[in-house]
Amino acid sequence: MSTTAQTPAQTSSKPVRRPGDRIFAGLSTASGILILTTLVGVAGFLLWQAWPAITADPSEVRGGQGLLYYIGPLVYGTLVAAVIALLIAFPLSIGIALFISHYAPRRLAQALGYIVDLLAAVPSVVFGLWGVSVIGPMMLGIQAWSVDNLAFLPFIGGPASPKSMLVTGTVLAIMILPIMTAVNREVFLQTPRLHEEASLALGATRWEMIQQAVIPFGRSGVISGAMLGLGRALGETMAVAIILSISARYTPIITSPANPGTIAADIALQFPEAPTGPPLATLVASGLVLFCVTLIVNMTARWIVSRRAEFSGAN
């Protein structure tokens, strides 16, 4: 498309270059380069600030026993919270996307999609405060029941708490639902109309049509949507900082008040009062780890998306 826009300039033997043209082209290119530099800069500056913690004596680092000892449980906690969120949000997002793309009345579909998008507009601090005052107490009953009756499961144990990993994961699931739904909805809508109609014409019910035409077509998109959601859940800060009660290192139990922290929440909680030097650098080092993990997750997701279609979750 944009190549045809340039043809007049290319075909004329000697294009006229006005100062305005040069300034405009320069400004746009500079903006593009600035954005790429920023991404490199984020990695560079974090590494620079984290360096004192990487080279320092293990006793000087936060926690007093070395960088891995401090960051290990945080990485574990981050993964547990994100995986819980993903397990809850994955089926929900597929169902919601299918509802909007294939079940809801055509005229309503766009408005319904917009309502789900509104969920993404709610600031994370609001989700955190809402989660701790509504979802936590609401889930206390079912968690207490689980502790009483399902304690043989390795990840359930008491005492049940409204500030448990399970509650945190549930709130995170709600927060990543909009981005996952948006991606899924988009790929489901891209299913070739003829595939769907061929399936229906052979007598398939709507669900059989979805199994035969929509799901196979959208599979890679659904996977990348899930990875985008995972990236968001890994980096989510305030909801975790407000809800999660942190007082343990590694534990498989997700219903008790003794949980490992997450990287992002730990930074938010500790950074404002952290003394400069190796302790502060430890926090930045954990931030660097978080940045690298989310970067890899996001890049994989985007790579899958860019291979299959002209779509991104940002639009």
């Binding site: 826009a5 290119t29 919601i96 507009a121 609001v126 809402w130 978080l290 940045f291």
Partner: protein, 367 residues
């Protein structure tokens, strides 16, 4: 699939049934709409009875139980009347609808919680007082509102030109070059950078110039820029690509230079869409808490100078009112909900304004 198509035609395969039972909707009976409504109402009543029997209360529990009873009931009835395939189809329809309604629940609950608890302190004093010298009750978030507006304003002023120019580069100059492809890819990747990491980056950047431990409004703006620019680039790029190429070519044919074509033809045509995108981007960053926590800090008094000293912002104010309340705790929690209500109102207003802009100022396509 392709293998069956390329098989020689003289030896046809025995027809494999596409669906593993033979009940077609044409021959067997159907559940009518009225009967279906009956099943829904019946499930709700059964669920209510079940819950009272176990003395569990709450609208959400009722809803989930109703859905479960309905799914079982409709499967049973449809299996008997319509056959297995249609029963499965009805269960999936019910399940998908349930999922959607479950997704609405948090939105409704958030709005309800925030409005019902926030109204207690949503008064004139809240919008005209700061927290300087306020120990218990009273006081307000004037300083936080001003801080949020200033920091978000600076972020917008800096991010929008960079974002729009980057989008112009992608659509008008970059073509399919390597820089353009890298930029498209990494802008998408950047939309997923954790906000706390953006905050750490801004702190590190300013440590380079001003030394450690500095807290200023402008640092927060830089952190928010990292989060806002990718969103602006994506939405603007989307809008610029929608501008018909005929408009550009008509302009070139009249001898208009490229930069004038972009600024007088392309941008005005896409203006409504760009404004929508920018408004949504503002809505996204105005509620950011984590990056401001590490870059701007918190304070009790009004500070409108983003180049000196700590500033208060609405989300951070809400967070600290919850995390470190004073005595009486009630006063702090009430101020917290009032500030959350203010924040939600701002965000929702921005979202609605964005939709209205795209609805009323979209260019006439002539169709």
């Amino acid at each position: 699939m392709t293998t069956t198509q390329t098989r020689p035609a003289r030896k046809p395969l025995p027809p494999r049934p596409l669906f593993d039972d033979d009940s077609s909707g044409i021959k067997s009976g159907r559940i009518t709409r009225v009967q279906h409504v009956g099943i829904v109402v019946g499930s709700a009543v059964a669920a209510a009875l079940l819950l009272t029997a176990f003395s569990v209360l709450g609208p959400f529990a009722l809803f989930v139980t109703t859905a479960l009873v309905y799914l079982l009931g409709v499967y049973g009835v449809a299996r008997a009347v319509e056959g297995r395939r249609h029963a499965t189809d009805r269960v999936v329809t019910g399940l998908v609808t349930t999922f959607f309604l479950i997704a609405l629940a948090p939105l409704v609950s958030v709005v309800w919680t925030v409005v019902s608890r926030g109204l207690a302190r949503f008064d004139v004093e809240f919008f005209t007082w700061s927290m300087r010298g306020v120990l218990g009750e009273g006081g307000g978030a004037y300083h936080a509102i001003m801080g949020t507006l200033i920091i978000t304003g600076i972020t917008t002023l800096l991010s929008v030109p960079i974002g729009i120019f980057a989008a112009i580069y992608l659509v008008e100059y970059g073509g399919r070059g390597r820089l353009a492809r890298a930029l498209t890819f990494f802008v998408d990747v950047m939309t997923g950078i954790p906000s706390i990491v953006a905050g750490l980056f801004a702190v590190a950047l300013f440590t380079l110039f001003l030394g450690p431990g500095i807290r200023m409004g402008i640092i927060g703006s830089v952190a928010l820029m990292v989060l806002m620019i990718p969103v602006v680039v994506r939405s603007t790029e989307e809008m610029l690509r929608l501008v018909p190429n005929e408009l550009r070519e008509a302009s070139y044919a009249l001898g208009v230079p490229k930069w004038l074509t972009i600024s007088k033809v392309v941008l005005p045509t896409a203006a409504a869409g760009i404004a929508t995108g920018v408004t949504l981007a503002i809505a996204r960053v105005i509620g950011e808490t984590a990056p401001l926590l590490v870059t701007v800090g918190t304070t009790t008094g009004l500070n409108i100078n983003p180049f000196e000293g700590r500033m208060q912002t609405l989300p951070v104010f809400a967070y600290y009112s919850y995390a470190t309340p004073g005595i009486p705790r009630e006063a702090f929690i009430e101020r917290m909900w009032a500030s959350v209500l203010t924040l939600i109102l701002i965000v929702m207003t921005l979202n609605i304004v964005a939709r209205l802009i795209s609805k009323f100022f979209a260019p006439k396509t002539g169709r």
